[in-house]
């Protein structure tokens, strides 16, 4: 009796372990240590690059102002969002529906505020009912999650690349099609050096004539 029970338990456990491992390996892409390709963390606010950069064709550097001026591209301050979003509080269709509804019901149009933008307004202290700032209520907190992380021993400067006419998409992929940003390049040294080498050998047509260095101290100091 005991032995049968033990055998059954063993078989069940073994099947469970194998099944578990299969599920586990299917769900996880195993990268080499330190490589985070495919990393697409949930952000505090569902910002769509597809909408802003793809459909609306807003230039990358309208928001990421540091890209051509300094080492960091910079996540824009909420104030930059408010340049438009102090007027645009929700999607176009939602606003239209409310307008028609109001017309039908013969009443004033109520402000329509998307729940994601509500988070932005809380951060900057924007009162959507009266459409004005109430700075005292600003929480200031939009904790974005960094997608592209480099180790501290590498010095990377966006401006040197942007001013050398490297397009953002070369490293960041087609961000304009991404609903949520995902890391596309592996950011390994081989990846960096290959591009530098390809460009200086003239293998990249749009960057012909550029001679990026592959000396160590270009990035490591």
């Amino acid at each position: 009796m005991d032995s049968i029970n033990a055998r059954v338990v063993a078989v069940v456990v073994a099947i469970a372990v194998v099944f578990g491992l299969v599920i586990f390996f299917q769900s996880v892409t195993i990268n080499p240590l330190g490589v985070n390709t495919g990393y697409a963390p949930k952000q505090p606010l569902e910002f769509s690059h597809r909408l802003h950069s793809g459909d609306l064709q807003i230039d990358c550097q309208y928001c990421h102002v540091g890209a051509e001026k300094g080492p960091h591209a910079l996540i824009p301050p909420a104030g930059t969002c408010m340049n438009c979003h102090r007027f645009v509080t929700a999607a176009w269709d939602k606003v239209k529906i409310e307008e028609m509804q109001a017309k039908k019901e013969k009443r004033d149009i109520r402000p329509v505020v998307s729940p994601e933008l509500e988070k932005l307004y809380r951060a900057v202290g924007f009162n959507t009912r009266e459409m004005r700032y109430d700075e005292k209520k600003a929480t200031g907190k939009l904790e974005w999650i960094r997608v592209y992380n480099l180790p501290d021993f590498v010095y990377f400067d966006h401006s040197r690349h942007v001013n050398a006419d490297v397009r953002c998409q070369v490293c960041h992929g087609a961000v304009e099609t991404m609903e949520r940003v995902e890391q596309v390049s592996d950011l390994t040294m081989g990846w960096c050096v290959n591009c530098h080498r390809d460009v200086s050998h003239g293998n990249v047509p749009e960057l012909k004539g550029k001679k990026p260095s592959i000396s160590c101290a270009v990035c490591h100091y």
Binding site: G70, E143, N163, A217
Partner: protein, 1012 residues
Amino acid sequence: MQNEDMVNRQNTKYWKGLEERENSPEFQKAAENEFPEPLPPADDPDRFFEGKMSVSRRSFLKAAGFSVAGAVLASCNRAPVEKSIPLVSAPRDLVAGTSYWYSSTCAGCQAGCGILAKARDGRPIKIEGNPQHPLSKGGICAVGQAMVLSLYDSRRAQKPLRGGKTTSWQELDREVISRLGELGDDVYLLTGSVTSPSTRAVIDRFLGRFSNSAHVEYDAVSYSAILDAHEQTHGRRALPRYRFDRAEVIVSFNADFLGTWISPVEFTRDYTAGRDLVGNPPRISYHVQLEGRMSLTGSNADRRIRVTPAQSAAILVEVAKKIAAVKGVNLPAVQGKSHLTIDPSVVDDITGRLLESEGKSLLLCGRNDVALQRLVNFVNHALGNYGKTLDIAYPSYQWRGSDRALFGLLEKMKAGRVKALFIAGANPVYNLPDAAAFAEALKDIPLVVTITDHQNETAARSEFVCPVNHPLESWNDAEIAEGLFGMTQPTIPLLGDTRTVRECLSVWMDEGKPDREIVKDYWKKTIFPRWKGTLSFQEFWDQAVHDGFVSVQPRKAPVSSFQLAAVTAPDEDYLPGNKGYALELYQKIGVLDGRHANNPWLQELPDPVTKVTWDNYVSVSPALAKEMGLEEGNVVKVSDGVYSVELPVQVQPGQHDEVVAIAVGYGCKGTERFSRLGPDWIEHVASDEKLLPIGKNAFPFARTNGAVTSFVSAVRLTKTGASSPLALTQTHQTITVPENLGGEARNMVRETTLDDYIKNPRSGNTFEHPVLQLWENDYVYEGHHWAMAIDLGRCTGCSACVIGCQAENNVAVVGRDEVRRRREMHWIRIDRYYSGNEGDVTVMHQPVMCQHCDHAPCESVCPVLATVHSEEGINQQIYNRCVGTRYCANNCPYKVRRFNWFDYWEQGRKENLVLNPDITTRTRGVMEKCSLCVQRIQEAKAEARRHGVELKDGDIKLACEQSCPADAIVFGDMNDPKSRIAELIQHPRHYRMLEEMNFRPTVGYLTKVRNT
């Protein structure tokens, strides 16, 4: 040719320390050792392995299991989530990650040099000299650069205290105001020299409300005698403005003007400008130094004469006599018998030289003795130097202290006639000669308020303690010289709950204006009307803030005709002989009078001459050491009959045999923490058994005569038998080749005399030798080829570059114990070579950093290619690739590589805010060294590309080069034929160290030229 040089070589034998000169067996062993520093386990094997080598099977399996599980988890896990929190609304034109520069005025001492503070993301991280500043002209000393670290000092006073307990400003203000209201009179303010005119105006208003009140200024290391002497001879109590660039003959009695005296950066700039080898035939100034101890200035002199304080006074009297005789001036006061005990030809030589360059000479005296200073004034007056090489009609306002006023206050305190005493920017309980009496008298004063940056000795004895802003957090101004005002602006919001002195007094007067408005109002009322220009006040103010200084129309001061009657003979004599030895108190270049004792950069800065870090000590001459049977590190008791200290001995070649010297500024409260400074595992074992302050206080040796404080005294020495090794870097990283290994082919430092140089510009630098050919010289540097040249004729050894490099490159402080183990991390060391006999040595200073050899021996031995050459000629060190074999350090002929024995960086320290974010902080087990500030090269290249322009010569200034007060370091692209560096490489004085070995270093040196 070769023979002649062989003779030259044998004539000048250079040595860094006495052990090297004597070539003792220990020194030979240390020089030959593969690892001169002990390996950690050898240090104390018991402690190192204690309880760590016995690993049980269970714990091994636990560890193994944990590491496997950890590795599995690490490989499927993401890197830790990093958050980016942007500002809600970003300031316009401010791009995170880029640097902003604020011009300001240095407050490291009262000299008021112009600085540029580099701020990154809201925090200042580096201080450099302001090239536009009329006084410092782009130079800045070690202290000025280290000020940025003291901003982030975690022990800086942060909160107001009452009776030792934290209180609020409101409560403190209420209490002080009500107590002041009750008192009504006898209110005194004791400060260091206040150079800020707006603060002086507030002080005047504050004290004007009380009868019997006075503002007393004193300086711990006082210039009072110079001011008093000018009051008596010229009718104006001020410091003359010295112009070393106009002086062809400089005679200095004990004045360390290149080190710590009055305004060292300004003087170094001007002094080196006068030694430029321009003209046909080339001319340089002639500098004689008469002193007892070996000062930095003395080490640079063309002629250095060892004298006791008494002899130097006697020589000065004789010089004055002779000049009076030549000029036909009757100077009855000094007519008596001569006390000269040395060869009178010295006097003849000095007098002759001075008379040859009337109006172009300068006589200085560093002693705080009014009679001597009056004689100095007489000589300078008789030679017609006033108005030319020194100016009292347009004086300097850098130091204003009056010892007489201080003693007057002390008398009043003793008599109980002081009801309220405010102490600001001074620590009298620590640094007065009679501090005990002051502390005693302090007890009876009803209201004592100290405005201070640290919880120091004086603050501990005051009822109210007001924390003061750091100069980098404040608005301020400074009247530096007649017609020259410095401007100080904040570079960071306040880090603590602090206020400036001006603000405190203004609140207690119930004026309640913000600090900036007080300064601005003062400028509007007083300085703006003196300015001849067309801007509106706001534009004028903006311009002043932008420039960091403003020059207005100087006002010629009323100066009386020279009062010959005031000149009297010096009445004091400091004859040692049977009384013992003459003690000279001096300031070390970093800690000064103790005001920077809390700054670990400055504590670890090797003294330019003695090369000792972290301590003060008794300097004695080699002959005296031999006579007393003392060796370096032996502890002696120094006593003047009243006060005594026990300090280790340092044997100083070139010091007078009857003179001992001790630095003031040590033994301060709060420096106890440094005795346990060091890497983690050492931190549990303090250098001292107990936590003791660093060094001992030497201020009580100073003597007073009621008018001035004298920093010379007579002492006796007694051996104690104890020993305490000095943390000195003297012979660390020696590059001398021992005799038994073939000896040195030729000297690392080269010098010549002006006469020889005029005959042959290559003199001292003519050396022909076979060049080893290990590698083909076949690599062509097509783009830039970076190179550096250091002019040994200009370098004074002031060590500003050492701190500049430390601040720029995140160089770790290792602590006293680690320096004793030869593990200091400075990327630049300044080699100090002696030549001559132990008594009368001549000194050479040579900054040595990585030489960036084109055929670098370190590169060929690295097994992991962590050190390789760049296509621009830089020898690169890649920290993340380094595995720490230290092969490179062993193969480096110049010994410039530094190994991280420990993780010197600790997370969460406030001091970490000073770190340069462009530079990796190196971890344990990694080699590091000078990178030629590659981050600056990259930044300048990117900046040029951003603007679509070519990189120009001079666009890149390395950290050491930028702040060099002597302008001795030149960096540039030697492939650019028009660059300064390309020109210097062709210069006949240019040479490279160990050229015969064909390492092809890109760092070169220029021969020193002496005017003998």
